[in-house]
């Protein structure tokens, strides 16, 4: 008997495949990138995007969408570059409050049965406003320890790769292998049966939103570790990037279908895709379109795999 890989296996391999293709293309275009130094430069901005993507994934897991994550990451960055640096206790307290606010957001959306898109879009203005209040003009200073962690040169491979792998595996076990992870994904797949089985949907949504807030905080803090200071508008692009990362990584908008490992790979692919296009010297007018084209190609591949699986 010959081995026929299942559609499911192919699907889960697709994010890794896209990443490899882009990486090879970059190495071909720019051999200099094939070094510790090069990989570090290429990938270090991927870590905050990976965290933002994981945050988005937590929200998508319960069938919602977070349009405020970019502004939220920007706010966290502003808090990180000001309060967290000047009075760490206040900074940590504010960041903890942020996570609680996210949990409350989940509760609000569930209890009032509100569309998450509207609530989070509204919140995006709230976060941006707060960020401007904390840091009216760009500046601030990242705490030394954050800077030290983010510029730490791990032996063998850039720290970003270790960190991303670790986070991806941790989240994979928490959401894909644990009992409560199954319940949470069930809330996205079939909330009614989860509720009948005696689980609280409210709790599940609150914990996933809190987790999203937590990853948002990690994203903002890791971002200022790289940039050294903050700007209220620093991460507005993360909203769309994170959604694209989740989808690129094998997640779906409905049904609680997510893949933490895929999401991290998706975030890296997106980061590398931008570098790839700039190495190709594509005019900026076309770059967004070209980035979209890469997304479409990957998604088209996925549809093909799905179809083949159905046959």
């Amino acid at each position: 008997m010959t081995f026929v890989p299942s559609a499911r296996l192919l699907r889960s391999l697709l994010p890794a495949f896209s990443l490899t293709v882009i990486l090879i293309a970059i190495f071909y275009l720019q051999p200099r990138a094939m070094s510790y130094f090069g990989l570090n430069l290429l990938l270090n901005l991927a870590l905050p995007i990976a965290f933002a993507t994981l945050a988005q994934m937590c929200v998508i897991a319960v069938n919602d969408l977070d349009l405020g994550i970019g502004a939220f990451v920007g706010f966290v960055a502003c808090v990180g570059a000001t309060w967290l640096n000047e009075s760490p206790v206040l900074g940590v307290a504010v960041l903890a409050l942020c996570i609680l606010a996210y949990a409350a957001l989940g509760a609000l959306i569930h209890l009032r049965n509100l569309p998450s898109i509207v609530v989070t879009l509204g919140m995006s203005f709230f976060w941006l406003g707060l960020a401007l209040l904390v840091l009216p003009t760009p500046g601030g200073k990242a705490p030394e320890w954050v800077r030290a962690v983010m510029t730490f040169k791990a032996p063998g491979m850039p720290t970003t790769i270790y960190a991303s792998a670790m986070v991806a595996i941790l989240v994979h076990f928490a959401l894909m292998r644990s009992a409560y992870g199954a319940v949470v994904r069930g809330v996205g797949g079939n909330p009614r049966s989860v509720e009948r089985a005696g689980w609280s949907i409210l709790k599940a949504k609150m914990s996933m939103y809190a987790l999203a807030g937590f990853f948002g905080v990690l994203s903002g803090i890791s971002l200022i570790g790289l940039t050294t200071s903050a700007d209220a508008n620093i991460a507005l692009r993360y909203t769309l990037l994170s959604i694209a990362g989740v989808i690129l990584g094998g997640g779906e908008f409905v049904g609680g279908r997510i893949s933490p490992v895929g999401a991290v790979l998706g975030a890296m692919t997106l980061t590398l895709a931008a570098s790839f296009l700039s190495f190709l010297r594509i005019s900026p007018d076309w770059q967004i379109g070209a980035q979209g084209a890469i997304l479409i190609i990957v998604l088209a591949l996925r549809v093909l795999i799905n179809r083949a699986g159905k046959k």
Partner: protein
């Protein structure tokens, strides 16, 4: 700086200046490569800036002054994207990177990585604060103050002023406005009775001025930041109020309107802004640094002023939808470096 949001139409550059000397006496930098990292291209000022860069650097490359001078613009005006772009440029092995930055602080991480890799970083217009980088700054504060000096000369009796500001939260807006307010403090016969944000765009400025006009007393002058003068004039006209002295910002439509008024009723004003060709000055400064010249980290570039007398000349050299411009030559860069 985010002058004008719109009109990608014209890539025009004006007031051609100083063809560079044909002699290739710059052997020292002939194998060096310079990159331009630009965060935004969506308005006429930035388009003119890129065209000037292209024009001057392609001639320099042809003459063998440098090996390459490539321009890179990020697709979206975002700090994270530009940081990634700078890191890509480091990888591509450029010897110097000239930056118009999306943020004065948030790119410092990437800039420091470039410096650590031995790359010279020169920022202009949108400068970066990393200590290892060079800055070609524009004295925006003085640009605001200059307006009040002009007003005080032409209206010794003073009067009420309307202030049109730029994009909220951008440091250029704060600086120009601070200069204007400093000027008002020194000339107490003037009083700012209203302030709106025009976002450096005609349509936004027109709407904003039209909105505040009914609540204002008689206005003697309008102080602006550039890109908003024409819109302000239209708003005054639509409201049927006498048109005050409006300071212009070197945009072609502003200069044209001024010229029409000047011909019709002797309207007097002045116009001040930064020449988009400042990118070429940054290029020459980068070349000089690579050449081993001793260049101070902080340089100041003069702004471009249009007065009643040279209006016709400047307008003729400005293409429709563009901005009055001047391009710099190596000699100009040397003068700026010497602090003259």
């Amino acid at each position: 700086m985010v002058h004008f949001r719109k009109s990608l139409l014209s890539l025009g550059v004006a007031a051609a200046v100083a063809a560079m000397s044909q002699t290739s006496a710059f052997a020292d930098t002939s194998d060096k490569r310079i990159a331009l990292s630009n965060n935004y291209a969506g308005n006429s000022w930035r388009q003119a800036m890129l065209t000037s860069w292209e024009k001057i650097t392609s001639a320099a490359v042809k003459d063998g002054v440098v090996a390459a001078a490539d321009a890179f613009t990020t697709a979206e005006n975002q700090v994270t994207e530009q940081a990634a772009q700078i890191q890509n440029l480091i990888l591509q092995g450029y010897d110097a990177i000239v930056i118009n930055a999306a943020s004065p602080d948030a790119l410092n991480g990437a800039v420091e990585e470039a410096c650590a890799a031995g790359i010279k970083v020169i920022s202009f217009d949108g400068i970066v604060t990393a200590p290892c980088a060079w800055r070609i700054a524009i004295d925006f504060k003085q640009m605001g103050k200059e307006q009040l000096i002009y007003l005080a000369e032409h209206m010794p009796d003073g009067g009420n002023l309307l202030e049109i500001r730029g994009l909220a939260g951008v440091f250029v807006d704060d600086e120009i406005s601070a200069g204007i307010h400093e000027g008002v403090a020194e000339n107490s016969q003037f009083k700012i009775v209203g302030s709106v944000h025009g976002d450096w765009a005609q349509d936004v400025a027109q709407k904003a001025v039209a909105g505040i006009l009914p609540s204002l007393p008689e206005i003697a002058g309008v102080v602006t930041q550039g890109g908003d003068g024409y819109g302000a004039a239209q708003a005054f006209k639509a409201a049927g109020r006498p048109i005050p002295l409006i300071i212009m910002g070197n945009r072609q439509d502003e200069l044209k309107w001024w010229k029409e008024q000047k011909d019709a009723n002797g309207y007097k004003t002045m116009s001040v802004s930064i020449a988009p060709g400042v990118s070429t000055l940054a290029f020459w400064v980068a070349q000089q640094i690579l050449d081993g010249a001793d260049v101070p980290k902080d340089l100041t570039v003069p702004f471009l002023r249009v007065d009643q007398d040279d209006l016709e000349e400047k307008l003729a050299g400005t293409e429709e939808g563009s901005v009055a411009n001047v391009e710099y030559a190596l000699e100009d860069a040397k003068k700026v470096i010497a602090g003259k």
